[in-house]
């Protein structure tokens, strides 16, 4: 672990001056508590991750997929973390850090609602007041997560600007932070934002690969040939890769959302995908220099993915750097393939994956014969939050693996 503020050309701290002192304070806290385990911070963090969060999560051998693909497939089960996704690893770390720093209030943005619920849970657990910013569009498509945040005692502030999704929610949270920075910590939900966030969030998420690497050694007897993770902002990705980066023989694949197409509509400022690593270019967004979906003038594009949690125009700077360095392969999978993979895992392995994670599984499906003899796929979250979306999107398509979903109309009324 180190406190890099840049990764090659990426990273940095492109934020309003008003936030800089807080960011310096945070950098200092990060170095002391996280990197140097001052006051036993990391010990407490790890203990809470275990007892409250349910870690370690299993590395499960997937029998049916292994047989189907003639490759040993192992699933890292982050869907079993409390709250249903890897997001708690980071949220718990940051809220605990804010407590050590003497902050009195937590704010966070959320897209799919997973980071928001994770933050709300961590705040309830640690007794911190919490407000979550969430775009109106996302609120409408992720209702159960809105309920969960409120039930955990968090305020949910609807964001009505722009298209009402993650990008706008982040901007709005930064505005709150610029006003309340003295007492408030902003829990960013991925490896994005100004330094030290990208490195810090990676370090909190690195527990995934710390466990997985050890578990792989035990189960496979060696390191895996390939490791796959979906990439939105890239926190589950960096968490899953971190401890494998030095293992040069392990192939690392960051699977982005290909959406409905990789091409863009400059006129409307819309990219029908969220593949910033694969198709974006360098720019500055939300505090960091990284790869972005932007038009030729530098205006940020509306991204799109069937999976709300991947629906973001940027990506973590360290991940962008690792892709430039060719240590990580940036690949992508479209909406259809992700939905298909969702159904496949649900039916064949009895695990309902998040639509985000389904992208990684979709890549496995399409490229299993190029990934070597053993593959670790990070199942970053569970798909309970996605049921309504999946039913709706499946009914619009002719998918290979989808079950007949007509029962949903027969019983208990329509959608």
């Amino acid at each position: 672990m180190s406190s890099e503020s840049t990764f090659g050309d990426y990273g940095g701290q492109y934020v309003p001056e008003a936030l800089m002192p807080a960011i310096e304070e945070l950098t200092d806290a990060y170095e002391r508590y996280v990197l140097d385990n001052e006051d036993g911070f990391m010990d407490e963090f790890r203990e809470r991750l275990a007892d409250f969060g349910g870690r370690p999560t299993p590395l499960q051998y997937a029998e049916q997929l292994s047989e189907r693909y003639d490759t040993d497939v192992y699933l890292k089960r982050e869907d079993l973390v409390h709250g249903g996704a890897h997001k708690l690893n980071n949220a718990l770390g940051q809220v605990l850090l804010a407590k050590y720093m003497g902050k009195e209030r937590i704010i966070a943005e959320t897209g799919a609602g997973q980071h928001g619920t994770a933050t709300a849970m961590a705040c309830a657990h640690l007794g911190m007041p919490c407000e979550i910013y969430m775009g109106e569009t996302d609120i409408a498509r992720q209702r159960p997560n809105v309920f969960r945040m409120r039930i955990n005692g968090a305020e949910v502030n609807p964001v009505t600007t722009g298209r009402g999704t993650l990008k706008e929610a982040i901007s709005e949270t930064m505005r709150d932070w610029a006003t309340t920075v003295e007492t408030t910590h902003y829990v960013i939900g991925s490896v994005v934002g100004p330094a030290p966030f990208p490195a810090m969030v990676r370090d909190f998420q690195a527990v995934i690969s710390e466990e997985a690497r050890e578990q792989a050694r035990e189960k496979i007897g060696s390191l895996p040939d390939s490791v796959l993770a979906c990439a939105g902002g890239g926190s589950n990705t960096m968490g899953t890769f971190a401890n494998f980066v030095e293992d040069e023989n392990v192939g690392l694949y960051a699977v982005e959302a290909g959406g409905s197409s990789l091409s863009v509509d400059e006129e409307k400022g819309v990219a029908p995908n969220s593949a910033s690593l694969s198709t974006g270019d360098e720019g500055v967004l939300h505090g960091a220099r990284t790869k972005l979906l932007q038009d030729s003038h530098g205006q940020i594009m509306e991204s799109h993915s069937v999976s709300a949690g991947l629906d973001y125009a940027g990506v973590g700077p360290e991940l962008a750097h690792l892709v430039d360095e060719e240590r990580v392969q940036a690949v992508n999978v479209d909406d259809d393939a992700a939905l298909d993979a969702f159904h496949r895992l649900s039916q064949e392995e009895g695990i309902i994956p998040a639509l985000e994670s389904s992208h990684a599984l979709g890549f496995l499906h399409e490229h299993h014969d190029e990934l070597g003899d053993s593959v670790v796929v990070n199942v970053s979250g569970r798909g309970d939050k996605d049921l309504e979306t999946v039913i709706e999107e499946t009914s619009k398509r002719d998918l290979e693996s989808a079950p007949d979903l007509s029962v949903f109309r027969e019983v208990g009324g329509g959608l």
Partner: protein, 276 residues
């Protein structure tokens, strides 16, 4: 006239508008009206899709301008088309500066800005730490880079920052984002006191709405006042009501005069400046 020189004789009135709000032609009228109303420097916003430092008023102006087709290139044409006699400062976010032209980095943008006569920049998401490349390009083309000093900017950090200042310092009157407020923050006086040791013009912004505000802030020691949202509000209202552009322009001119007059009154009942 250099930016710094503007502040020399009397308190400066520095209005902000988003260029192209609500459309190109009206916006030209509005900027010119502000000049007529007594503007000493004009901050022209080049709209960015993610204006993280702006409150709702300016966010909406940004949306109007972008929807009406504003682009960096159009912005430069806009500046060329303007018939005003005061220094212009471009306020925008770093990504637009960074992306302009074929070459990477801020140089092409600065070069083009210099060409159309822009005299300086304010970049709200570019703290001193990241300003190196832009600073260099500004130096090359003789433009000022204005930094914002926030209520939270103190001690060593403040000292480091003041080394980079050119033109004037933008003193952020209170924490938060842009937007007109009914109060004038206590932070203003404290901030001005913190900055007293540096001999550079101090323009105070964030939340100024009326001539009275302007008066109080100048009498507290500011060398200038920066006003954005209170003016953008007038445009928004006119736009919504479908008012004549000329009427709106006149309202802007009147408001500008009120603010400038307030600033001038403030200068009169100001305790005698010590060093200057």
């Amino acid at each position: 006239m250099s930016l710094e020189a503007v502040f020399a004789d009397e308190p400066a009135f520095v209005p902000y508008l988003a260029a192209g709000d609500p459309d190109y032609d009206s916006s030209i009228e509005y900027v010119e009206a502000l000049a007529r109303g007594g503007a000493d420097v004009i901050e022209l916003g080049l709209p960015f899709s993610e204006p993280i430092a702006e409150g709702p008023t300016i966010q909406e102006a940004v949306v109007r301008s972008l929807e009406a087709g504003m682009t960096p290139e159009r912005f430069f044409e806009f500046v060329e088309d303007l018939d005003v006699d005061v220094p212009l400062v471009c306020m925008t976010y770093y990504n637009l500066i960074y992306q302009y032209g074929t070459e990477e980095g801020p140089r092409p943008f600065v070069e083009r800005a210099a060409e159309v006569g822009i005299q300086g920049f304010v970049v709200p998401d570019l703290p001193a730490e990241e300003a190196g490349p832009l600073r260099e390009a500004c130096d090359e083309f003789g433009l000022d880079l204005v930094f914002i000093v926030a209520p939270t900017t103190e001690g060593e950090r403040l000292e480091r920052m003041m080394e980079h200042v050119s033109g004037y310092v933008y003193v952020q009157a209170r924490l938060g984002v842009t937007g007109a407020r009914d109060d004038v923050s206590d932070h203003t006086e404290q901030s001005l006191a913190r900055l007293a040791q540096w001999d550079v013009p101090k323009a105070v912004g964030f939340g100024i709405k009326t001539g009275d505000h302007a008066e109080r802030i100048v009498s507290a020691g500011a060398d200038g006042i920066i006003v954005g949202s209170a003016l953008v509000d007038i445009i928004a209202e006119g736009h919504e009501n479908g008012d004549d552009v000329a009427d709106v322009a006149e309202r802007l001119e009147t408001k500008a005069r009120e603010l400038k007059d307030g600033a001038l009154r403030g200068a009169q009942n100001r305790p005698q400046p010590e060093g200057k």
